[in-house]
Amino acid sequence: MSRHIISMKDFSRDEIDFILNKAREFEQIAQGKKSSLLSGKILATLFYEPSTRTRLSFETAMKRLGGDVIDLGAIESSSVAKGETLADTIRVIGNYADAIVLRHPREGAARMAAEYSKIPIINAGDGAGHHPTQTLLDLYTIMRESSLSDMRIALVGDLKYGRTVHSLAYALSLYHADMTLISPKQLQMPDVIKKDLKKQGASIRETANIEDVIGDIDVLYVTRIQKERFPDPAEYQNVAGIYRVTEELLGKARDNLIIMHPMPRVDEIDPSVDRTKYARYFQQSFYGVPVRMTLLAMAMEAI
């Protein structure tokens, strides 16, 4: 199956299940077992915005599968600084590599890149738009650490600008998850997205307090309030640090609760929570590797 990976909306529930089940098979390789599945293949990474874990986990995934990685490098020292369009860069890199991982600050960049690319484009985040590989690793984490069926999940933080939660909420609606959206009023999920979710048959509640639901949920998905997404710095100051998950708050949690975070965190999860049985965010970042292995193998037609 060779294809671009742009948005969760391009995947059916069956396709998502296929990816999650395949990722399970790749876990051992992600932990170091040798593989030459993508030997001779080259992945190009184009990051127009800073990224640590997404870039590194893609590189790790490619290398663990025996492939090579080329990187566009810092934007300031590349042809982009000379004014080259993304469309041109994509067509040039298409002559060098077998797939492209793209992160770009503009919404829709990956969709446009796919129109110009003869090799598969994997969207690693387009502005406040989609980030499907993050969503897939989030689903995988829930599958491995909790359960995707009859799941009650709360999404906390910046639900307005945070791209990961939009994609995730859409995917969760395919699993008929019971969702609670927790955010201050000014960071509520945009109506257009809620409307889409309801069209999928999703059950959604909204509240401003974690305390309201902490005793009723299986998954607490915490996000960082991202300063860089706010058009107005004053708006950011009003909501910065508004949520903080602490051991005390978790006193009312169910035994089987898991806490997830796409990372990096700032102060929304107290470090003392790391020691509790609930914390899964570091495990979650590991799961990025087998999931991205699966997507790379699919994009390069190795599975």
């Binding site: 948005s7 993304l86 600050p105 503009r106 960049a109 969709r111 129109e115 738009g129």
Partner: protein, 165 residues
């Protein structure tokens, strides 16, 4: 565009309906939603300095729409792109093509499934609002009329006229 049956003697009925004199040749755009006539003129590139003979009737009582606007442009017949643009702001409009005082063709505008290069995305951060070699593309929802950007997923549901290119 779907063609209706041409009316046998349309001039008299149009005359009564339009409250303005019939034209010899050109286009009558009828059943425009009340208040949208000036936007239709904008789409047709008709501004204050035009030399074209144009008649506009606004807020005419209409059984179907409540209030409707009518635009008559003499001599000119519309291009398909112009009709597509009009359909976005006046989805119930009918286009009457007049030759020698006769309606020789009458059809309702049809909202296309997708529109390319007609509307600018309202998301300033969308890739289609950059110097990339890309034209805007939208999927059209018909009821209510909403445009969803193919690139960034943003939806334009109100004030479509303001985003026309």
């Amino acid at each position: 565009m779907k063609k209706d049956v041409t009316e046998k003697n349309p001039n008299s009925s149009l005359k009564k309906e339009m409250r303005v004199r019939p034209i010899r040749q050109g286009t009558v755009i009828d059943h425009i939603r009340g208040g949208q006539a000036l936007n239709v003129l904008k789409i047709l590139g008709i501004y204050g300095t035009t030399e074209a003979v144009v008649s506009v009737a606004m807020n005419v009582p209409s059984g179907f729409l409540g209030q409707k606007d009518i635009v008559k442009v003499e001599v000119r017949e519309l291009e398909e792109k112009e009709v597509d643009r009009i359909s976005l702001i006046a989805p119930d409009a009918t286009i009457n093509i007049i030759r020698d005082y006769e309606v020789i063709e009458k059809h309702r505008v049809v909202l296309p499934e997708r529109i390319d290069g007609l509307v600018r995305c309202n998301n300033p951060n969308c890739i289609s609002n950059t110097n990339e070699p890309v034209i805007s593309k939208f999927m059209v929802n018909k009821k209510p009329v909403e445009l969803r950007c193919v690139y960034c997923d943003h939806v334009i549901s109100e004030g479509i006229a303001e985003h026309l290119i």
